[in-house]
């Protein structure tokens, strides 16, 4: 099946959904299932929209979409997680059906498109959908901040794209990569690359462009928390990762600066999480640190482990935000102390939360450990001893605050805390925790894929 359905059908459904508002959430579930079917039956390759071209040549007229294993993994994560979150919230957040459909279309387009300006358009669609999702927090000021940062970020991204167009006369990513390597003058492209990196860095939550995160995720709920911390973060990391691996050329001083920004993000993120006393803030600062690690891996060319880390992180963060946001919806307070003893009456939920947290920390038996071991080995092979030291130090801090959090959540506080988790929530938690456990112990399938899942460079060379 044509992968353009992944974008066109959610859009069509979104346009129809405002005519039949009552059934919007059912439409969303149907479209989610349809998208998964498309993902199963579609073939890898390039899709030419408009039918103007048949091969990628220097005179590429239309817009192209590229589906390879890298994009396929990203699409699976995004579509399945949106479907799960939608099903869980089908009763509570009925009005958000159309917005989730648009978010789905925007994120799928963002991941599939091979055209830089088209990427900007989908960045805006998914961005506006995210602003609207964050209105469910009922904190208009933090939504406004999010919108401002997002708009500045995408303007900087557009600035970079336009400068690149004016220099190389094309908007297609593959043709652009060819032209840049043909001109072989990398100092010229520093400015557009840094503008685009900052622009996407805003959405990917990299320091110091992420001042919006605290307001949005610190007040998140069962819908916006997992959507923004899980789905959006995964999608944005995938997009930024693709650009970092293929388009951006980081060399010399620029590489030092970018590495410094990312290392700063890891250390500051974990330190902020360490010093915070609110559960949601701990989780969001931890995910800031994680996203910096992910981009750092992409910068160092460890595509496959970065991809696994994104997937594992998205799954764990979805579980953690769902558990905590469901609890805070009832206690109306997310201080660690007021959530003491949350898991005393919810053993299953507590167990899955613990597994997710331990996987983020990278303890053995869980998939986080396998991933961490592999990327640290690969970094050691590349001689990046400083980076390894930083990541290990950050993991130590992370371990301390997550264990501290877990202990408090397991031990009984002064008052008896009872939070009801619906059966469907428990099912999702168990499924995710099981997958974290299974892949942690049976990691052979993970080793089957390697860095070649990203085929952009292949397309660049062979057309």
């Amino acid at each position: 099946m044509n992968v353009v359905f992944l974008i066109a059908i959610p859009l069509l459904a979104a346009f129809i959904s405002i005519l039949i508002k009552k059934y919007a959430s059912y439409l969303l579930v149907a479209v989610g299932l349809f998208n998964i079917a498309v993902l199963i039956f579609s073939k890898n390759g390039i899709v030419f929209i408009g039918g103007f071209d048949t091969t990628i040549s220097a005179n590429l007229l239309g817009i192209t979409l590229l589906l390879d294993t890298y994009t396929r993994i990203a699409l699976w994560v995004v579509n399945v997680l949106i479907l799960v979150i939608a099903v869980l919230n089908i009763k509570t957040y009925r009005d958000y059906g159309s917005i989730l459909l648009l978010a789905m279309a925007g994120l799928n387009g963002l991941l599939l498109t091979n055209d830089l300006f088209n990427l900007f358009v989908f960045l805006e669609i998914s961005g506006i959908a995210a602003y609207l999702l964050s209105t469910s927090n009922k904190k208009p000021v933090s939504t406004f901040r999010y919108l401002l940062y997002g708009a500045i970020g995408s303007s900087l991204f557009l600035f970079g794209v336009v400068i690149l167009y004016s220099m190389y006369g094309t908007l297609n990513m593959v043709v652009m990569i060819r032209e840049i390597s043909a001109s072989n003058n990398y100092t010229e492209v520093i400015l557009p690359f840094i503008l685009m990196f900052i622009g996407l860095g805003v959405e990917a939550k990299l320091l110091p462009f992420n001042a919006w995160v605290k307001g949005v995720l610190g007040n998140s709920n069962v819908l916006s928390g997992p959507m923004i911390a899980g789905v959006y973060m995964a999608a944005m990391s995938f997009v930024l990762g693709r650009l970092v691996t293929n388009l951006f050329v980081f060399e010399g001083t620029l590489l030092t600066v970018v590495t410094l920004i990312l290392v700063l993000g890891i250390v500051v993120g974990d330190l902020m999480a360490f010093s915070s006393s609110k559960v949601r803030e701990i989780l969001l600062f931890s995910s800031i640190a994680q996203s910096s690690i992910i981009i750092l891996l992409f910068v160092n060319g460890l595509t496959i482990w970065a991809v696994y880390l994104i997937v594992a992180n998205a799954l764990s963060k979805t579980v953690m935000f769902l558990v905590i946001n469901k609890a805070t919806a009832e206690t109306e307070n997310d201080e660690v102390d007021s959530l003491k003893g949350l898991f005393v009456h919810n053993n299953i939920v507590g167990l899955t939360f613990t597994l997710a947290a331990l996987s983020v920390m990278g303890l053995p038996l869980l998939v986080g450990f396998v991933i961490k071991l592999n990327y640290l080995t690969a970094l050691a092979g590349a001689g990046q001893i400083t980076l390894i030291a930083v990541i290990l130090l950050a993991s130590l801090i992370e371990g301390i605050y997550l264990v501290r959090l877990l202990v408090k959540l397991w031990y009984k506080g002064e008052k008896d805390l009872r939070v009801e988790y619906h059966f469907s929530f428990k099912m999702v938690f168990i499924a995710i925790a099981l997958s974290l456990l299974v892949f942690g112990n049976y990691s052979t399938p993970l080793n089957e894929l390697d860095n070649s899942i990203d085929t952009v460079s292949e397309v660049v060379n062979n057309g």
């Binding site: 300006f117 805006e124 602003y131 208009p140 000021v141 919108l147 708009a151 500045i152 336009v162 167009y165």
Partner: protein, 112 residues
């Protein structure tokens, strides 16, 4: 040379976003910044003094010199996206005012 004017507008808007604390002024600054960017986009498509707008009446006209039509198409898209973002920002500003009775971000944090 004229491109510097658009870059000046862009950084002027960015400066406004840095220093302002009023929600409406922030939205205005955002628009100034975006307009600087739009002028920049249009300016990169300018071919020369003898170039004309890319509209033809028949195929014989194609020998003439036209300005680059692609930046114009891009800027059309970018402007519409800017309108959408601004409308949403104003709606959020209105709901901020309904909640806090002020447009000033500092005053809001004090009352909250």
């Amino acid at each position: 040379m004229i491109q510097y004017a658009s870059i000046f507008l862009f950084v002027l808007g960015l400066y406004g976003l840095f220093i302002n604390k009023n929600v409406i002024k922030l939205i205005v600054s955002l628009n100034v910044m975006e307009i600087g960017l739009f002028i920049f986009i249009i300016s990169i498509g300018y071919v020369g003094d003898n170039a004309i707008a890319p509209i033809i009446s028949n195929t014989q006209d194609l020998g003439l010199i036209y300005v680059d039509p692609l930046p114009q198409a891009l800027v059309l898209t970018a402007i519409v996206i800017g309108v959408g973002t601004t409308a949403l920002a104003l709606a959020i500003a209105k709901s901020i005012y309904n909640t806090y009775q002020t447009f000033d971000l500092d005053e809001m944090e004090e009352s909250a």
